[in-house]
């Protein structure tokens, strides 16, 4: 079966720094792949190469078997690829509901039809469902910039699901989220995986979160994949422990 996402020998160099140095992996349909690694190991650069934010220095990115290397983020999004960022990326002056509508509107009809159609592009009901799913209904009409960090984090993740993507790349979704919220957040992600059939790639430092959510984990150190396998196996891998704890 063709993998949903495949990276083939990806490289990204910044001058002499090899941030991503020959990374290859595949993500199958419905999989939740965790990407772990120490700070500065190249995880976010890898994400940016996969998602068109950076053009790889070498290598290929395949989506459903088709070469999408360097394709613009907006085009990838229309092909069903969505993402969140390491730092919060909501639109502070729009309400939580408006943020969600914005996240879905470019997938509804033609641009001209959107101009002359309904102001909400017919997405209010879908946005309300997403607010409910992420337990954000009570802040739907508040400006996103005024929400707590955890609420913004949830909203940020909800936006990634608004257009019903096939593949979602989450960059440190658990960072800064309190333990109570984290539990329900993990359940929301699981629900999106099982009910909506979305495939995930998750960068995360919170090992408990990764181990309890992901079906497979890869570990990156110095721009290379040093381990790939079941979460427990990767956690106990000697190279992974060494990469985290040092020599």
């Amino acid at each position: 079966m063709t993998p949903v996402l495949e990276a083939r020998d990806l490289h990204r160099h910044f001058g002499g720094v090899r941030a991503v140095n020959g990374v290859s992996f595949q993500v199958g349909e419905g999989e939740i792949l965790g990407v772990i690694g120490p700070n500065g190991s190249g995880k976010s650069t890898l994400f940016n190469c996969l998602l068109g934010q950076l053009v790889p220095s070498a290598g290929t990115v395949l989506l459903d078997g088709q070469d999408v290397t360097g394709m613009a983020p907006a085009v990838l999004n229309r092909r069903g690829v969505s993402r969140t960022f390491q730092l919060l990326q909501v639109f502070p002056q729009l309400s939580a509901r408006e943020n969600l509508i914005l996240a879905g509107q470019e997938h509804v009809g033609s641009r001209l039809a959107r101009l002359f159609g309904r102001p909400d592009a017919g997405l209010t009901a879908a946005a309300n469902r997403m607010l409910e799913l992420f337990q954000l209904t009570h802040i739907a009409d508040l400006a996103a910039g005024g929400l707590s960090y955890g609420q913004q984090k949830l909203l940020d993740a909800a936006m990634a699901f608004m257009a019903g993507p096939r593949l979602v790349l989450l960059d440190e979704p658990a960072g800064g989220v309190n333990l109570t919220l984290l539990g329900s957040f993990r359940e929301r992600l699981r629900a999106m995986n099982t009910e909506a059939g979305a495939t995930f790639v998750v960068i995360e430092h919170n090992m408990d979160f990764v181990m309890s959510l992901c079906t497979r984990v890869i570990c990156i150190a110095e721009g290379k994949v040093i381990a790939d396998g079941a979460p427990e196996a990767v956690r106990n891998n000697a190279d992974v422990i060494e990469a985290y704890l040092g020599h």
Binding site: R83, Q93, L94
Partner: protein
């Protein structure tokens, strides 16, 4: 009433108030009201480009100039006013698209300098291409359209156009396009990751803003009935920028209030003679220090405080 509808009601209310005032007042005030309507149209265009989409432009005066010269040149050739207005807007739309391309590469003060270059080039064309623009002597005897030849009649035409522009801008800004423009301003990288094609919306923001500048110019020429390059120099771009900022950049009603201040303040401060600009500048600095969201922001704070007290 939702905020969206309150914005439209506010804009149309101001247009209606200007119409009533126009019926009751002197020809000079009628002229000032017409000028307010013209500037509001131009500032609404700039507010769309700068306030909503976050793309700085110092070229709005050039678009007003293109619209004005298009009307002034074509009216004597028998073109109906409506056609000259439409053509001026279309020309400015096309120029706006061209101006938008550098914005895909540079932002902030670099983009300001690019737009400054266009403003300078346009001014030089208005001044030096005398075979078509009349050069420094300009074009005179610009006739007003039939039925709107009197000062009061022309005011009503300006207000009708402003009402149509208000409705159009309101519709646009509450549509998904308006949301995409705000996304462009607040976080283009995130917007792109959500499927917003940054290139297209950047070009549209420039083009639509420029087209409204063209509409304002088409109204301006028959209002003053004589045009030459000076009114379309960089000073007007700065004035329009000031109108947007003073009124409230990114607020629907900002340009209406900003243009009102820009048109009326010189009259109120006339007694200061040469110190007028210094006083105006000081007032603007104080306003922006204490109320960075402009007059609309100030009004919203007062209303919010009123609601809290109740």
């Amino acid at each position: 009433m939702s905020r969206d509808h309150a914005n439209l009601a506010g804009a149309l209310g101001l247009v209606a108030a200007a119409a009533v005032l126009g019926l009751l007042t002197s020809p000079y005030i009628v002229y000032l009201l017409s000028l307010w309507a013209v500037y509001t149209v131009a500032a609404t265009g700039l507010n769309l480009t700068l306030g909503y989409a976050g793309q700085i432009s110092l070229a709005q005066a050039s678009f007003v100039g293109v619209g004005a010269y298009t009307t002034a040149i074509l009216l004597p050739h028998g073109w109906p006013f409506g056609a000259t207005l439409a053509l001026g807007a279309l020309l400015c739309f096309a120029l706006g698209v061209l101006l938008g391309f550098p914005a895909l590469r540079v932002q902030g003060h670099y983009l300001a300098f690019v737009t400054l270059a266009l403003a300078t080039i346009a001014f030089l064309v208005f001044r030096n291409e005398a075979w078509i623009t009349g050069g420094i002597y300009g074009i005179d005897h610009i006739r007003r359209p039939a039925g709107f030849t009197s000062g009061r009649g022309y005011l009503f035409l300006c207000l009708i156009v402003l009402a149509l522009v208000s409705f159009g801008a309101w519709w646009l800004l509450r549509s998904p396009w308006g949301r995409a423009f705000i996304a462009l301003r607040e976080n283009p990288v995130r917007a792109a990751s959500l499927g917003v094609v940054v290139r297209d919306y950047t070009l549209l923001a420039f083009a639509i803003g420029a087209a409204l500048g063209g509409v304002a110019g088409a109204l301006f020429a028959p209002l003053v009935q004589y045009i030459e390059p000076t009114p379309f120099a960089l000073t007007l771009s700065f004035s329009l920028l000031l109108m947007v900022v003073v009124g409230g950049s990114g607020s629907f009603l900002g340009p209406y209030l900003g243009a009102l201040v820009a048109v009326l303040l010189p009259e109120w401060l006339r007694f200061l003679k040469d110190y007028y600009l210094v006083t105006y500048g000081t007032a603007v600095i104080l306003l922006l220090i204490f109320f960075p969201d402009g007059l609309v922001g100030l009004a919203e704070r007062v209303l919010a405080r009123g609601r809290t007290v109740k």
